[in-house]
């Protein structure tokens, strides 16, 4: 049994990173040995989000890339997983889907850089989207393979027996049954893309500035207050998705 002080210590440890980042994002002038910044101000937020820097653009770019990846990867992997799940070589195909995870994403990017340069995809949003799809799509395939089970096949057959055509079965039977799984996969692939740094920075050659690339840039410039602010922006969507996951999905 965890005793109460231990429980509160754990809760404090979990919340500390979020409080620390938020505090730093409102801070200025944090010299050793001061425990807290000497100046508290909203200037960092005003400067970075009021159009005086390109952080707002990076935020929108990251959102666009991640929503795009989540939509395409979820949609494509949903159908691919069906073929794999009912295929006699199911296990072999699934092993192939694990390959991109065994290969470190940044090393994969390094080995593909030549092709991206030759095809004119390096430094382009399209190139980053394609590269992130190499990671997000196999995840979706692995995720949905469990969904396409004997029960789903029986439901499809029942729908066909009752006169439903392929489209009706898909719209009226499969999509409602897969709603929760589709949402979870969308969230997960969104996060895979949202958190991605190595592959994006290498194949984006610094021109596709997503939020993770921005955080690294601010850290490199030793601007810890802007780095903390960009980190807060980076953490907010996942926390929101977690809340939705817990509130909506696990209650229905």
């Amino acid at each position: 049994m965890l005793r109460k002080p231990l429980k509160y210590t754990f809760a404090a440890a979990v919340l500390f990173p979020f409080a620390f980042l938020l505090a730093l994002s409102f801070g200025q002038n944090w010299r050793f040995p001061a425990v807290l910044p000497a100046t508290w101000t909203t200037d960092n937020w005003h400067f970075l989000l009021a159009g005086q820097s390109d952080l707002g653009q990076s935020l929108l770019r990251s959102l666009g890339i991640s929503v795009g990846i989540a939509t395409v990867a979820t949609g494509l992997s949903f159908f691919t997983a069906k073929h794999i799940a009912y295929h006699p070589w199911r296990e072999r195909w699934l092993t192939v889907a694990y390959f991109p995870y065994v290969f470190a994403p940044v090393i994969l990017a390094a080995t593909l850089q030549f092709y991206f340069l030759r095809l004119g995809l390096a430094g382009k949003v399209g190139g980053v989207l394609l590269a992130q799809l190499f990671i997000a799509y196999p995840f979706g395939v692995i995720f949905f393979t469990g969904f396409w089970n004997e029960r789903m096949r029986a439901m499809e057959q029942l729908s066909a027996t009752l006169g439903g055509n392929g489209w009706q079965t898909f719209r009226r039977v499969l999509v409602p049954a897969a709603k929760g799984a589709l949402l979870v996969c969308f969230f997960q692939t969104f996060l895979i893309s949202w958190f991605e740094y190595g592959l994006t920075s290498l194949l984006g050659v610094g021109k596709v500035q997503t939020l993770t690339v921005k955080v690294f840039q601010y850290i490199g410039e030793a601007n810890i207050f802007y780095a903390a602010l960009a980190s807060v922006l980076l953490v907010l969507p996942p926390v929101g998705l977690l809340w939705v996951n817990k509130r909506v999905l696990f209650k229905t």
């Binding site: 620390f20 991109p100 994403p105 090393i107 030549f114 799809l133 740094y197 290498l202 955080v215």
Partner: protein
């Protein structure tokens, strides 16, 4: 299936294919014709082996520490992670990207970081120079700390779900009925089942830590470097002679990782099939 292969196996095949060609002097800027010189210099030099050893060290320490903490947390109070405030809070650390965790660890554990400031205020150190060197250090303490922060909540969730799905509470009660103490039931029943069921995930997480990039990039030292950082450093150097070596390291690392995963997971499935 064509789409599936095109987005999974094909990029890997093309990537490894180009790496082999570049590393043997058959492709790339300044290619000199077939040569095994770059392979020889990587395989006989110490840099790659030190990097591989360091990556294994970091992964082993990170997984070992996180595993110990997570097992202790779940075995001592499994129900706490299923309902109540902790069951929600435990998911929060998973929302932190590796880049942000590395930044936090740097700002907390570096010489001028938050921890150093606190211990200075408490009179335990006389300044930055008295604080231990935990960031950008040769032992990878900062890297390990960052990975432990990321892995512990993940393992707690994993073990907590396994505890429930495998109905380990009932087994523990049965063991107690048969006279086992709480410690004996944890050591002989609960922990072995949790480790056995989680083994494939632990192997994959080990590989994930070995191949991590952002955390060692921010918190690692110049030497030794983790494999991903070493590969990218060699690839981005101005010296073109280093590029083929980067591809050699990429191929060697992939062979090592695929070999380790196949060996460990096959061995485990073989053991399982015998039971």
């Amino acid at each position: 299936m064509a789409l599936f292969l095109g987005l999974t196996a094909l990029p890997l095949a093309f990537g490894i294919g180009y790496s082999l060609l570049h590393s043997t002097g058959l492709a790339g800027i300044g290619s000199e014709g077939f040569t095994l010189r770059h392979w020889g210099s990587v395989l006989t030099g110490s840099e790659f082996w030190r990097s591989l050893g360091f990556s294994c060290w970091v992964a082993a320490c990170s997984i070992g520490l996180a595993l110990g903490l997570a097992l202790a947390a779940v075995v001592r109070g499994p129900e706490r992670w299923q309902r109540g405030i902790l069951s929600w809070l435990i998911y929060l650390p998973l929302t932190l990207p590796a880049m942000v965790v590395a930044f936090l660890v740097f700002q907390t554990l570096s010489g001028a970081g938050f921890a150093s400031r606190l211990v200075y205020r408490l009179g335990l150190t006389g300044g930055i120079e008295d604080f231990p060197n935990w960031v950008n250090d040769p032992w990878g303490v900062g890297i390990i700390a960052a990975h432990v922060l990321m892995a512990t909540p993940f393992f707690i969730i994993l073990f907590s779900n396994l505890y429930q799905n495998e109905r380990l509470g009932e087994y523990a009660q049965l063991a107690a009925t048969l006279g086992a103490t709480a410690r004996q039931s944890a050591r002989r029943v609960v922990v072995p089942v949790l480790l056995r069921q989680a083994f494939p995930t632990l192997v994959l997480y080990f590989i994930f830590v070995m191949g991590s990039y952002e955390i060692p990039l921010l918190l690692g030292s110049q030497s030794p470097q983790m494999v991903s950082v070493l590969t990218i450093r060699k690839l981005q150097r101005f010296d073109l002679a280093d590029m083929p070596q980067a591809y050699v390291i990429g191929v060697l690392y992939t062979v090592f990782v695929v070999g380790a995963v196949v060996f460990l997971l096959r061995k485990k499935s073989g053991e399982r099939s015998l039971v």
